[in-house]
């Protein structure tokens, strides 16, 4: 006992210190990569724009490193710490590769492949426009997606619960469900009065089928013991559907809803590229037409951030709804 205590208090021997550092190479890897990327960014390359915008690139690198270090100090879990390091390392590598290909070796076409610093500068400058586009896109997405949620789930519950209705409707869903929703776009634009209606409809269709089919099958195959437990309590049909089956199949509904969200986002941007005059998809398409590729790349990266944020919120909701499963 005593010797143990003394050993713990003793100062690190060189071997120990070496083991401490060497056994966690990812810390050093991320940090080494950070420093290399900073040096690379500060060196003049073959493109003058890179040098001009190097401050932006360095700011981005510092931001990533700061977030990484902050995460490391806030989290205790060593596995999570390690993957935070790995993720930053991958980011630094990617940015360095981009910088090398464009500025230092000048392998890529200038017009099509902007240097990273320039994209960062554009990204910051365009934030107000992005915000405007985001509002318009989220409006469409929210309307279409929520409409799909509130129609698909109750409909699927009722149809899945009534065996005869299920047998009647299921073949139809097998035919209609797998149709790629993109093919509806031109037709929807023609038959619906405004572009807004058409996009909401398309997003609705894209989200509807995954949610509907997921909920329908889960309802049809719901655990019989759950149903029996409820039946002996004499629950009325409404309660059975919305207080027993709905929470009982929540995991399946959530996976359907996640799939629906992915689909609806794809369809949102696709629809915007075809006929909108604002929104994230429109932004990327509009500036491609003007060959303004720094804006295009910045727009694509912004869409990536938005999707990540939305999926993050979704996972939060999922964790709350399924807290009983843990």
């Amino acid at each position: 006992m005593n010797t143990l205590c003394r050993a713990a208090k003793a100062p690190d021997t060189p071997q120990k210190w070496f083991r401490k550092i060497a056994l966690r190479p990812q810390i050093r890897l991320a940090d080494i990569l950070f420093i290399s990327a900073m040096v690379l960014a500060s060196l003049p390359g073959q493109r003058t724009t890179a040098f001009e915008f190097r401050g932006y690139l360095m700011a981005l690198l510092v931001l990533i490193e700061l977030i990484h270090q902050l995460y490391r100090t806030l989290h205790k879990n060593p596995v999570k710490k390690r993957s935070a390091g790995d993720i930053s390392a991958v980011l630094f590598l990617g940015i360095m590769a981009w910088e090398l290909m464009t500025s230092h070796f000048d392998l890529l076409q200038h017009l099509l492949f902007p240097v990273p610093g320039k994209v960062v500068a554009v990204f910051i400058a365009e934030l107000p426009v992005f915000a405007h586009c985001l509002v318009s896109s989220l409006g469409l997405l929210g309307a279409g997606y929520l409409l799909a949620l509130v129609t698909a789930i109750p409909l699927a519950l009722v149809i899945g619960w009534r065996k005869r209705l299920f047998a009647a409707v299921n073949p139809l869903t097998k035919v209609l469900g797998p149709i790629p929703p993109i093919v509806y776009i031109p037709y929807a634009i023609v038959i619906l009065p405004t572009f807004k209606c058409a996009s909401i409809f398309i997003i609705f269709i894209g989200a509807f089928w995954p949610i509907f089919i997921g909920t329908l099958n889960a309802t049809f195959n719901v655990d019989q013991r759950l149903i029996d437990s409820a039946r002996v309590l004499n629950v009325p049909e409404r309660t059975m559907l919305f207080e027993i089956i709905l929470p009982g199949i929540m995991p399946a509904i959530i996976s359907g809803a996640t799939l629906g969200l992915v689909f609806s986002f794809i369809l949102l941007t696709a629809a915007e590229m075809i006929g909108a005059s604002s929104g994230l998809g429109w932004y990327v398409k509009y500036f491609s037409d003007f060959a303004d590729y720094p804006r295009v790349v910045a727009g694509i990266l912004f869409i990536g951030c938005v999707v990540t944020a939305i999926t993050g919120c979704f996972e939060c909701i999922e964790r709350r709804l399924l807290s009983w499963k843990s």
């Binding site: 002996v232 929470p247 929540m250």
Partner: protein, 263 residues
């Protein structure tokens, strides 16, 4: 007075395209306020009979009457405790009981519901885990919550399928006492149909013990238990009458096993 009557009932499970007969021409009558226990070899159809009584399945032949009327599906006069799994996993233990009480359509305030719930939870010894979800509870604790729910709902008839099988010995004794108290209390005695594998439990609790033969062979024997109530476990076990009855029950159960081995 006759409370429950099974008249020549038969039942078969449909599996793929074949029917698997499980119950064949079983007749049984249970008096109002009577405590009847069913014991028999595993797979002989005890749980199946209970599901027919509960109204979850309908007999293919024969009829089930309660108070002289043929049953149609489940009914609030019957409370059921299943052999496995009867709690809703997304509701806490307390919510599970409140949910059951709310289905009774007796107008009760939130406060009253909470009071009844807490009362029965503490009766089964679980007052401190009311806010846990079923999968945070052990199997025996889940079973006790299900029992508390059935007791709280206070139905005229209790159908219980091996309710104490997952419960430890100490809690089991407590729950047996509790069940007898609840059965006896109130203006009217409840009618209980109770399934168990435990011969001692059967003798301690029942007015009559129904011994079943193997699958589809129906009821083998019905044995009345005349020991005076309230029965004291400690003194009862020492009497020669108890030993004789226990011996008889085990023989009767065992016969079947011997037959099975011989075949």
């Amino acid at each position: 007075m006759e409370k429950i009557r099974l008249d020549n009932i038969s039942f078969a499970y449909a599996q793929q395209k074949v029917m698997i007969p499980v119950i064949r021409e079983v007749t049984l009558s249970v008096k109002a306020g009577e405590f009847v226990t069913i014991i028999g070899p595993s797979g002989c159809g005890k749980s199946t009979i209970l599901s027919l009584l509960a109204g979850l399945n309908t007999p293919s032949d024969g009829s089930i009457r309660i108070d002289g009327e043929a049953i149609r599906g489940t009914g609030s006069e019957r409370g059921v405790v299943f052999q496995h799994y009867s709690l809703f996993p997304w509701m806490s233990a307390r919510k599970n009981i409140i949910f059951g009480l709310r289905q009774l359509k007796k107008r009760k305030s939130h406060k009253e519901l909470a009071e009844i719930t807490d009362h029965y939870l503490s009766l089964v010894g679980l007052h401190d885990v009311g806010d846990k979800y079923p999968n945070q509870l052990s199997g025996g604790m889940q079973q006790r919550v299900a029992i508390a729910r059935a007791f709280a709902m206070d139905s005229e008839i209790l159908l219980m399928d091996e309710p104490f099988s997952a419960v430890d010995a100490k809690n089991k004794m407590g729950l047996q006492e509790l069940l007898l108290n609840l059965w006896n209390s109130g203006a009217q005695k409840k009618t209980v149909v109770f399934i168990t594998h435990d011969v001692d439990e059967a003798i301690l609790l029942s007015d009559r013990i129904v011994i079943m033969s193997a699958c589809t062979k129906g009821i083998k024997e019905i044995i009345p238990v005349h020991f005076k109530r309230p029965r004291n476990r400690a003194t009862l076990i020492k009497t020669p009458e108890y030993a004789a009855m226990r011996h008889m029950l085990i023989n009767s159960l065992f016969d079947d096993l011997i037959e099975e081995v011989a075949v």
